[in-house]
Symmetry: C2
């Protein structure tokens, strides 16, 4: 897992590599560092809370949430793949695991015999509902509590822009 990944500040400060001409300025680099550190630490806390509550990991949450959000409660694999950041093969096996646990059911697509649907079951929805309170509490305690309203707004707009750019091209 991509942990903290601190940056080679020394590179610029100590002028060990003066040949670096272009680079993000100090403030941007610090922002990046803060982001990956906070991300890693908070996710670790939340995963731990889920384990302690006897619930599945966040990856399962992703998939269940995505599928639960569409009207007929089912999604083709490639649609799911777009929403969840995971390789195709990884998704196949993740869905297999979810299906094995009874939270999803696989259904053939009658109009395209190559494809198959992943459909959420009642039990899948139930698990999703049990997970959210734990997840929400983790976000509040380890993340939300430490932000001002202004900061929260700034993060949404700034990182939204970052995500849009990364997704588009």
């Amino acid at each position: 897992m991509y942990a903290t990944t601190f940056l080679y500040d020394g590179c610029m400060e100590k002028k060990v590599c003066a040949d670096v001409v272009v680079g993000p300025d100090r403030g941007r680099v610090n922002a990046w560092r803060a982001l990956i550190t906070a991300n890693a630490l908070v996710i670790e806390k939340i995963e731990r809370a889920l384990v302690e509550a006897g619930l599945p990991p966040l990856g399962w949450y992703d998939v269940l949430l995505e599928i639960s959000g569409v009207p007929d409660g089912r999604l083709r694999m490639h649609e799911l793949a777009r929403a969840v950041v995971l390789s195709r093969s990884g998704l196949t096996r993740l869905v297999d695991r979810l299906a094995g646990a009874g939270l999803l059911k696989r259904e053939p697509d009658s109009t395209d015999r190559r494809g198959s649907y992943a459909a959420i079951t009642d039990e899948g929805r139930a698990v999703l509902r049990r997970m959210w309170p734990v997840y929400a509490a983790g976000i509040a305690e380890h993340f939300g509590e430490h932000l001002t309203d202004d900061e929260a707004r700034a993060i949404v707009t700034a990182l939204g822009r970052v995500a849009d750019a990364a997704q588009s091209h």
Copy 2:
């Protein structure tokens, strides 16, 4: 890998689980969502750039950077473990890999025969210097460019607070 992990917004909006009394408000949740999404997407881009440049992954960067930053260029395993978010056993094997590639060298600690040092080699420093430009370019292109100065500052202070809280207790 913790991918996007979108939140169960529907939970609150559609009042499917009215029993959730406490929870982070909408803005905080959106901030969290933006953070994990941006993190996942940008890291993916940077990892890909490193692969294309024939360089090791970010995890190696972490370790090399951390060790290169101390005066005598070596660190005990447990000191390294504190800096890098990785389990003890994971760190053991990561250091083994780095050592296998000639970027680190393991040295016994003469004052405590249980412990061993991971010491950076010249080649390790060289790799670190080759990695930084690629990493820096990735940060600039996929992250920094999309932030205003104010936003960068807000992220540093806000997420710094988040990380401090997570690390302390």
